[in-house]
Symmetry: D2
Subunit: 393 residues, 4 copies
């Protein structure tokens, strides 16, 4: 059997259905709200429409109501969903819920799945993932994890401060990563805990104002202040948190790429439509060489991102670590998407910076992706280290 790049027909069908749904149903809502959904009614209406369109929860196993796509399948479908900022929310594949479902499916105990995964997969509740900490805690360097969980009778007491906890406001539960052995700076062991939102010692300190605003529920600073959870709140095994984080992060990195690639394509479509229509200096924009160069570079960036994502997804589906290929795909895609949106905005000129099109909004939304899920610099460092070590063997 030779290399085959055609998606599975079922995936292809779902992708087309998703594309139609996003263009016909989601994009009008997105444009009406300037790209940012701020109310539960918008979310639930979109999700109901996605259920009706048969495109809801494509990544979740059928027993939890989804289509059970593997990573290669997600690559195709999520890109279509990402064509609108609200597409992932509609399909219930937005961060951080999507990554949490992925993690829970793999690691959670049966009761935990019933209690947390099932309603999450159905869109009945939302969730968050509390890992990142303000300096000098865990950020690019997970080993700096400072939040601690200590044994107490019948459970654990968590103390620490987290920030950029996306979606925490309104989430039914949070998966909190806390250190259960070792010290910040050493690796040691971490454990993941399922913390219910009504736990009184998990406190939402503030909404962090950020350049991006479209991730539903915002980015929160959260304080775990003697927050006690029962033993049943432990997700997977004690001290295995860093390993689980990899289970979540590799794929989550890729699904971010897929979704933002959708926005890159959307930006390109907006710019090309404008270039086809706008006349200046006696030519259409689309006939001017410098504009053509931008359109072509966008096309190249989109194609290369898609190809690198697919490569990484294929490795993940085979059960390989994918550490190098996801780092490569993430670094390239985060920067490529940024370039694409920036060029699209430039092509549109004054219109591009106005709210009359969504390009300024997209520019704000994609910028942080060069930082979260590993800044480009951290990935480059890791990529180079792997190459250098392999060569030294």
């Amino acid at each position: 059997m030779s290399v085959d790049l055609a998606p599975d027909p079922a995936v292809d069908t779902l992708a087309r259905r998703t594309a139609t749904f996003v263009r016909e149903v989601v994009v009008p809502v997105e444009e009406r709200h300037g790209g940012v959904a701020r109310s539960e009614s918008v979310r639930t209406n979109l999700q109901r429409a996605a259920v009706d369109a048969g495109v809801f929860a494509p990544h979740v196993a059928p027993e939890y109501g989804g289509h059970g796509l593997d990573m290669r399948g997600r690559a195709v479908v999520f890109e279509e969903a990402g064509y609108s900022l609200l597409g992932p929310l509609a399909l219930n594949i937005a961060a951080p819920d999507e990554g949490n479902m992925h993690l829970l499916e793999i690691i959670a105990a049966p009761e935990q799945k019933e209690r947390y995964l099932r309603p999450l997969a159905a869109g009945a509740v939302r969730s968050s993932f509390a890992m990142t900490e303000p300096a000098p805690g865990a950020g690019s360097d997970p080993a700096a994890l400072a939040t601690r969980a200590e044994r107490v009778p019948g459970g654990w007491r968590i103390d620490g401060r987290k920030w950029f906890i996306t979606g925490a406001d309104g989430a039914a539960f949070t998966i909190c990563m806390a250190r259960t052995s070792g010290r910040p700076g050493d690796r040691g062991g971490a454990t993941m805990f399922l913390v219910d939102a009504d736990n009184p010692r998990m406190k939402l300190v503030r909404h962090i104002e950020t350049l991006d605003e479209s991730l539903y529920g915002g980015h929160l600073e959260v304080l775990f202040d003697g927050c006690v959870v029962p033993d049943s709140a432990v997700l997977g095994e004690v001290d295995e948190g860093f390993r689980y984080a990899q289970v979540r992060l590799g794929p989550a990195r890729m699904t971010h790429c897929m979704r933002w690639l959708g926005i890159a394509r959307r930006s390109q479509d907006i710019a090309v439509a404008r270039a086809n229509q706008r006349e200046i200096f006696g030519s259409r924009l689309a006939d001017l060489g410098m504009v053509q160069a931008m359109i072509a570079d966008n096309e190249i960036d989109i194609a290369a991102s898609r190809a690198l994502i697919l490569q990484a997804c294929w490795e993940l589906d085979l059960g390989r670590s994918g550490a190098q290929s996801t780092a490569i795909a993430k670094t390239f895609t985060a920067e490529a998407v940024w370039r694409v949106v920036d060029r699209a905005l430039q092509i549109c000129g004054a219109l591009g910076v106005s709210g009359d099109v969504l390009l300024g909004r997209y520019l704000r939304e994609v910028r942080p992706f060069r930082i979260y899920d590993g800044p480009s610099e951290t990935h480059r460092w890791a990529i180079a280290q792997r190459v250098a070590r392999a060569a030294a063997r």
Copy 2:
């Protein structure tokens, strides 16, 4: 006499005073307001403080209360003022007022100077400049000017639609550029008109929502709908508007560069302070090679921008056209400033995209400068044409 790059001592003194004023008085206000002043009280308080500090209106002739700086002097002082988004507002050198004062000083009749320039220079009123039109009107291509002024007894009737008219909301008057001969696409002749804000047929249609938000008074869409003005409203000569526009645009391009260069330096300072303090992977950020590369590239971009601005200002002060040198300086600086802010934000990581520092705000503010005052592509086209024509001679 050999080349001398030291500023005049009086300029140097004023620059230092400005730097101190901005750091001590303006920056705290800027941080309190997230970089965007939205009320007259903020504006007037800042301007009063600037008067008290002896740094107000550095560009205006002494007879109108200023320091009478030439372009080279402005280069030094405006950069210091630009260190805060609100510095130019405080010194009364923000766009579009600053460019309007420059234009009025050179072109206005004595009575016009008393009526429009004097209060503007004193900060008693604000103004706007109505040139840009929605497609297919005047934008990158001024010859596309579609707004018309027709002779009526005792004056002119202006009809047309303008957009991105900065500061129009609250301005006491607008300088409106309208076609008085020829047709859109031909060059023909344009004329500048002083239109009082209380003219009932000059209508503010809407505030245009934009990526940037810090230019005081916002960006407006303005309709001239049979707007009649008297003969005394003509600024300079009839049909000389395109020539006057060059009088305004070359210097205005440079003063934009100066101010944004200040923001580039501010961004660099924020990033370097962070890099000196933040530890990760056992090092200070400032000791990591990839961060050092970004810091150095920022320094190079800042130095090159400053040097190109100075070159262009020197030519303008000598009375040369400066068409090529201002185009080069503008294109480079607009892109360099963008890169600097982007790198500074990247160095700061999650903090950089948060509202806890102003870098996300700066990123939004500087992006449109690659488009207004001539998109980079238009300038590159013009630069190349001049080179090719000179070579063909």
Copy 3:
């Protein structure tokens, strides 16, 4: 069936054998000759060794002594062959012979295959492809074709000047593209002719001195000066030359990419080995952030090139036009390979510019690839046009 990126096992085996052969047999010869083979004995010895190693002519059908690889298979094997400048020569897959074999296999009549393809596939003879003309003839714009072929009794008379005809010195025959209808600037019709080297009116005017020197036989200027060929010299149909050129050019574009990708990997390996060993400022180069950034960017460029090549090859194997995907892959790869070699040389410092390693040679060899087979600008123009047209539908 889902997407599968694993090469066919037979391809994989051949690729590994090729990799071993190149490292063990070819690289030492390459290093001895500074990357440039200038004698028939080097060529024939290398080819004999490749036959012995079972890696010769992987792209040719088995009936002509090859392995019959499709484009996806070539992608894997040619990259391994390209790990040395002399690898493609050894495997008989160097330009222009490789592209000529591809063309002849598809288009030539049976007798032509026996006479031209069989000895070419066996390495018994070499060939050239005479399409490019000095300005204002055919170059980036094939329609500018100025060489004409006119009917004469029993055949055709060809008149015109070609340049950059690679390998023409010593080639047994040339495939010459000449206009048989229409005029330069119109498209009209072109025809391909098989011209034997002993034709007295096909004259080698000069070797063109070029930045690159490793393509065997050099780049020639060739004059067709009343060069008469019989009807049997027509390759395929009269007036179908432009269509055949596409048959040759799309795949040839990709095989160039594959081979140069091998040189990119080789450059990276040289640089990483150096970085692992060289100490400076108290660190290994490989531990310095700016060096790590270059190593990582090389890795990303290599991975993205490979992924784009594979995408295009898959489309070509399916019988699709591949116009867009080969243009994207070619543009990206030609520039990526250039960047990789440049960074590798930079990592090696003074050593990198010396003849003690081959990086300076590689830099010279890969530069022209951003120009031949379509300059990046021409491809970008074509890519953008296709996008704009598709959007306008």
Copy 4:
């Protein structure tokens, strides 16, 4: 006094005379020799012509036959000289002689000036500067200096290996930098020695083959093998070599920039002439947007390089260290010149890679400048460190 960017009239006159001389006399010789002078007769003929034209040795004090230009004056004149690869040789301002004259004028004792500087300034002899060592010796990190000089009766004995010693073959003397205290890796003290070419223990090991070939006399590997020199060979003070190296390196860095900036302009002129003449796809190249973008970017790069060089030269003339400004100017210019030549070659297409124009030669010549006189990475590191330290105060 305000900023003044006009060169001194005497400088201006000399620059114009140099420009005329280079275009009329030097360029034809350069083109005849493919940019590389390989014989003494070419050198002496060019230098005699430069004397006749009154443009010889512009940088040397009048008492040694020169024009006594300061650094700002050199910036203007050297750029004109650098318009041809052979211009600096003709004016006797090529590396390393030019830097050696600069050093000798400042540091040498009167007798040393008579013996070494006078004939060197007259072009009667050539010289070299032996600092760089193969790894792990002195390169980017001068403190790694491994060549040692030990006291012997009446003088010093030098032992060590140097490479990339430009011009050493045929030079009458070499200035050798050797460690006289401390150990490699520590800073310690170095001393400069004047070593006559006939010293039997200074051995030319080999010519190093390099990507660039135009620096007269080539790049040599030189062995100091118990090389004894008398006390009178000490240049300046013992143990002050590192300080003297700075005296030489800062200005030498700038004069390299000036000369290569000349080649950048030459490349641009070649490309623009071609773009004005060559028609393709029905347009002149000069009318195609992507070509215009390259022409404009070249113009911007040239202008910014020139402005940064001037800034650094002004600081050096004032007696400031210029460490930061020369590092900024060198890093930017070395990369800008490279980009300019690369774009010029791209504009010329196939012609650009051919020997029919000199662009391929220029590309080879400018590449190493991103490495010698401090690799870009080393400069960026130093630039960032200075910024970070200043901020930490």
